[in-house]
Symmetry: none
Subunit: 421 residues, 2 copies
């Protein structure tokens, strides 16, 4: 009698908002013209969702982990690995990751037999907030192998970079090389256990090499000529290990894909062994081609049971305090949803929601609830007719959490094992 | 000032459903004429309940544990012990339980000094799906004692049976005797620790004895004469220990009774040291005498503070895909509730709910919410006037979990200890 269905979750990144005075107290989602989203709400079950728990300000990483059915309180082991994913670094389970600064040191650096840095001091922890050239500097040390450890460096904005260590027997209990102060030498990294001590020893050699390979780099020659502080060393801090996450297909018994724009969420998808297609035209900016994302969703449904799709645009409006941009972004999401509804196979479950609230008046993520609507076979339609923060509060889903969503969907999809007899 | 009240929970087993096309998108509960249930909803507080958590497909065992205030994630140790309860086997905390098949072996079975079965192979793991005579075969080995371990065998449907081991120092880390294949010998059970090794040794002797005592049993003589494969051995698998559950009266500080029809829930009640009366006329089938259950509820209230009552009929309609049967079953529950309301002592709290959803279109349990209504002194009535899945979603209880119910009731009953000062 049972029949398996497929499901899609469409996420407007940071879509939820608070009342905006310029919109007469409506939210951007409430003010936007979103007939496709409203049709999902009208045909389906609606409610409010706390991505993590009531009031908790979720990151996109912790929220997507929860929505995909992984408890961030168990698997989120610090920002390092997820920040590395966010700058498109290649990070796999077991990799030890650091946040780094490109910095300026003065003097002739060397490493003592005891593993201490001597001969030079940190002159500028941010290398004058260097804006350009860090990609080339990162390339000078990216991929080196020291004592069996491969070092992957990826430049981020300004002086920031991600450092990813891969190899057998790595440890994450590694102290910071960054001395968090100027006028003193970098700290020699130390390990809290044997594996971490080995990791720290290789890391110290890498830091020395970063100085050797960048101090006379053309980027720094030019900076010196312009009387700017050279970015002549990498100072790692905040060690963290990327957790080994159970593949999505094993966790839920269904094949899943992630159609997303940002490196952070793509990286989570890859670590869950989900299919993460490249989508030409998906820029992650306000100019992104939302229909390209929609087509990729429909393509993925051909041989996957489940697709998560994230449209980044609404979050940009929120961070920029741009309510007009956020209204347009909501309509972009509506456009995306309309295409999916119009081209999806029959009997598809479509969920529309957000990963967190990014109010234009706050400019960053907040812990308010996000609206959610689920349509498709077997749902119990409620009286809600519009998809926005206020309307959905009267819906039949009530108030759920991000971690509840996959069980709710696999229940509707007919793919979940029974718990008990 | 405080005054203690009593409470009843009336559970329609599998009562909740999804929209049924033949009922114009209503559920069977919505379509049924249930004035007594509606009067409870109208006078009381209503809401939705997730027996375990949102979306999770509950069994009747895990759901009843939660509703009675025991977290199944802590006490539910596998299906074996609860399946044994389900076939009316006598199971107590600490018993090690197995699921068994009556099977057919060919050859002269013996047990080597190393604890391996030799001389015979499994010819049919299900003994031709034997339909009759297994009660007599089970009786041939039921109650034997080997190395201080008492073996209790209870036949179930077709070739299935439950095996319960009771004794001091038992272990549950016992590998399967069932080889899960034919043409090979049964596996000698092994233990994962010392207690389990002792248990495995006794189990192997029991399995040998099951062959010795059934191979020439009249049931098998008749089967051989009819050219049917003999059910001449028991093959245990899936060891699990019945948890030692804290008595209900200690957990909640009130005297409780279970007026139920199925062995599974009766067994849970007995393991919680609740009173579990025999109810003549309660068959667990569609012909059950619901007023006999209702009278037993009222009787139990004379000297108990709390009674849980489960009517099995709605679940049967769900499993059979019979929406007409489920409408009738909802009316049977209404009849039961009407009697309780009419004969109960004044000031009684009456809760009406389901243990899970068994949609007629799915034919098995699903993880949708179930409706709940609580009436009696001190509740805050809401605007809900009818008791069904859709109507209660607007109620004052919001969305609660099975584990929330006993605290909600003992709070209303005035029997709960304060948490804090």
């Amino acid at each position: 009698m049972s029949k398996r269905t497929k499901a899609v979750i469409l996420i407007g990144d940071g879509l939820a908002d608070r009342p905006v005075p310029e919109l007469d107290g409506r939210t951007p989602l409430e003010a936007a013209d979103t007939p496709a989203l409203d049709s999902i709400a009208a045909a389906g079950e609606c409610g409010q969702m706390d991505p993590i728990a009531p009031g908790v300000r979720a990151g996109s990483d912790t929220s997507h982990l929860a929505i995909l059915g992984y408890d961030p309180h168990q698997v989120y082991t610090g920002r390092g690995p997820f920040e590395a994913l966010g700058v498109e670094a290649d990070v796999l389970g077991g990799d030890v990751c650091f946040r780094c600064n490109f910095a300026t040191i003065k003097g002739e650096l060397s490493l003592s037999p005891e593993g201490e840095f001597v001969g030079a001091v940190v002159a500028d922890r941010r290398a004058g907030r260097i804006a350009e050239g860090t990609d080339a500097l990162a390339a000078a040390v990216d991929g080196v192998v020291i004592e069996g450890v491969k070092f992957h460096v990826k430049a981020s904005v300004e002086h920031r970079a991600a450092l990813v260590l891969r190899g057998a027997g790595l440890g994450e209990k590694v102290s910071d090389v960054d001395p968090h102060d100027e006028g003193i030498a970098p700290h020699g990294a130390r390990g809290g256990d044997e594996a971490s001590a080995n990791t720290a020893r290789a890391l110290n050699q890498f830091v020395l090499l970063s100085w050797q390979r960048t101090k006379d780099h053309p980027v720094n020659v030019a900076r010196l000529a312009a009387k700017e502080p050279p970015a002549n060393i990498l100072l790692p801090r905040g060690a963290g290990v990327m957790p080994r996450l159970q593949p999505f297909s094993e966790q839920h018994g269904i094949r899943g894909a992630c159609v997303v724009e940002t490196g952070l969420i793509a990286g989570i998808g890859r670590n869950l062994a989900m299919t993460v297609p490249r989508v030409p035209g998906a820029t992650g900016g306000v100019d992104t081609d939302e229909l390209a994302l929609a087509r990729a969703v429909v393509d993925m449904l051909a041989d996957h049971d489940f697709v998560l799709c994230n449209l980044k645009t609404p979050d940009l409006g929120g961070h920029d305090g741009d309510w007009r941009g956020k209204v347009v972004a909501a309509q972009k999401l509506d456009n995306l949803a309309r295409y999916v509804l119009g081209h999806a196979p029959a009997g598809l479950h479509v969920t529309i929601t957000a990963d967190h609230c990014t109010p234009v008046a706050f400019g960053d993520h907040t812990g308010d609830t996000v609206p959610i609507a689920i349509t498709g076979p077997n749902v119990r339609p409620d009286a809600v007719k519009a998809f926005h923060e206020r309307a959905v509060a009267a819906g039949g889903l009530g108030r759920i959490r991000g971690l509840d969503l996959m069980p709710i969907l696999t229940n509707l999809m007919g793919t979940q094992e029974k718990y008990g007899a």
